[in-house]
Symmetry: C2
Amino acid sequence: MKILLDLHGGDHPIDEFIFGCVEALSLCANLSLVLVGDENSAKASLDKVLLDKAYNKINRDRIEFINATDVVTNEDVPTDAIRNKKESSMVIALEATKIREDISGMVTAGSTGAALTGATLKIGRIQGVRRAALAPILPTLKGGRVCIIDGGANIESTPEFLEQFALMGSIYMQSVYGIEKPRVALLSNGTEDKKGNALVQGAFPLLKKLPINFVGNMEAREAISGDYDVIVCDGFVGNVLLKALEGSLYGFKGLLKGALTSGFRSKMGALLAKPSLKKAFKPFTLDELGAAAFLGCSKLVAKAHGSSKAGEIKAALLQVHTMAEANITNKIKTEIGKIITN
Amino acid sequence: MKILLDLHGGDHPIDEFIFGCVEALSLCANLSLVLVGDENSAKASLDKVLLDKAYNKINRDRIEFINATDVVTNEDVPTDAIRNKKESSMVIALEATKIREDISGMVTAGSTGAALTGATLKIGRIQGVRRAALAPILPTLKGGRVCIIDGGANIESTPEFLEQFALMGSIYMQSVYGIEKPRVALLSNGTEDKKGNALVQGAFPLLKKLPINFVGNMEAREAISGDYDVIVCDGFVGNVLLKALEGSLYGFKGLLKGALTSGFRSKMGALLAKPSLKKAFKPFTLDELGAAAFLGCSKLVAKAHGSSKAGEIKAALLQVHTMAEANITNKIKTEIGKIITN
């Protein structure tokens, strides 16, 4: 199973990416990698990492390099970057993923806008899929996972888009996370069937007819409660939901840290409580979550957080590996085909 | 200054409401109250509370009672309840607030939908106001306050609604919270000027022309950062934002509590850290926040949380008192008048 990694566009230097790659290779025997970026730096970094006893048994043949001399940045206008930055690691990565049959999917930590635009323009959608959607995974308070779809790819949506997002999200959580009957809910301003704006009200009857476990409307308050496996919404609302949760989580962690370091008494308390605090909040750390899958493209594309370090890169690579093993692209193709012919 | 309180529709018994009233009266010398609800229970409850030494100097003449024999519940369809439940405390409260010049505004902890519908149908909007909007206040991580407008009243909005929400929110934070130049931002999926769905893109140039301190687009991640004073959005998105923040706060507190009570070592740690934890999270408790103002009606209406206890009722009454003293209704009338004639 070969996965491609775009080495640029994230916040951290190439060493973090290489370290993440080697970690993933050491954990997953049938994984091999294609690394796209500054080949010399990547090779030098690999030499360093492989000196480590823990990794010196890893076979270098499991890593292929493709050189790229340019980088797509967050300041680039996505469509312009994909069209004009032909030597960038992201464009070369997308093209290699599209063309090469031996590559099952790719991971990038670069610009979300460029990755999504590029995936649609260069790789293309699965036949019948109206729009590809970003499907980030969040931890829940019950220790599980919940998928938000669309997490920000489609700022304007139609009820028919949401219908397909629901189907793709359900397939994803079933195949990749092993949830037998994912509980799929529509994000609304109340739980009653009639609640919602025109988009949600239009989507409700469409979701009800799908061959999924649609459990009705839900409120943002329950997003991470663990009562739902898939939350369906348009990309604008999904973006607000994700960022609100992210912002408040970081904010509260900051408050907690501040409180536990203010004065001797609190510091002593923190020392005692540290192990159980660490355990409780572990699921709410970035590197546990992997990347956000971009569902609906004919090859797997996953967007790792821009601030990804080795742990997140490792998680993202393993996640795309799992998605590829689960043959999720074909499953989506088949199920979307069924609702289209119905 | 006379404020009316609807005694029913909240989750807690009338004693909590009466206790909150007496607390507010004891804190604010020029406040008097009109209480609408089951008069006998309310009077009996008042008799009990006034036995307390702390309150036995409060003059009973500062409280007027209006009897009501019915209650609007959360199960009622809002428009039906407002039209048909003529003996309900909420309908009687709305009508008294509308008609009586001596009443400056009202507080209800009842059904949000019924309160908003009722305020529009019974009390009516200020001349020139397109839609009244719910303006809840959240604490920020920097110890300040931020207003979300619209927090859920208008599920479908137009750019022109958002324009007026921005103006009303700015006036509110200026007059009631004393912020000289409130930083007003438009909630979007990115900070760049061109970001947003059609609604946000349509509203952006309108907000830019307003005589307010419009600071551009902002992301949900920064909602409680303290970098903004007013966040403008449609009611659907505002509802998602509020409930996501609320859900994560409660969830986070739950995790924290769980961690700090798991085993002897953690409990000891919690004991030591408790004072500083309590201090850090104090702004994030409900009773510090008061009620959500419903801005744009010709009389002041504020919606207290359904789960309000005495502390929240007290805060809500004092908040409406402050709004009335600041003459916010007239200010909105004047400023809306200016943008309409422009």
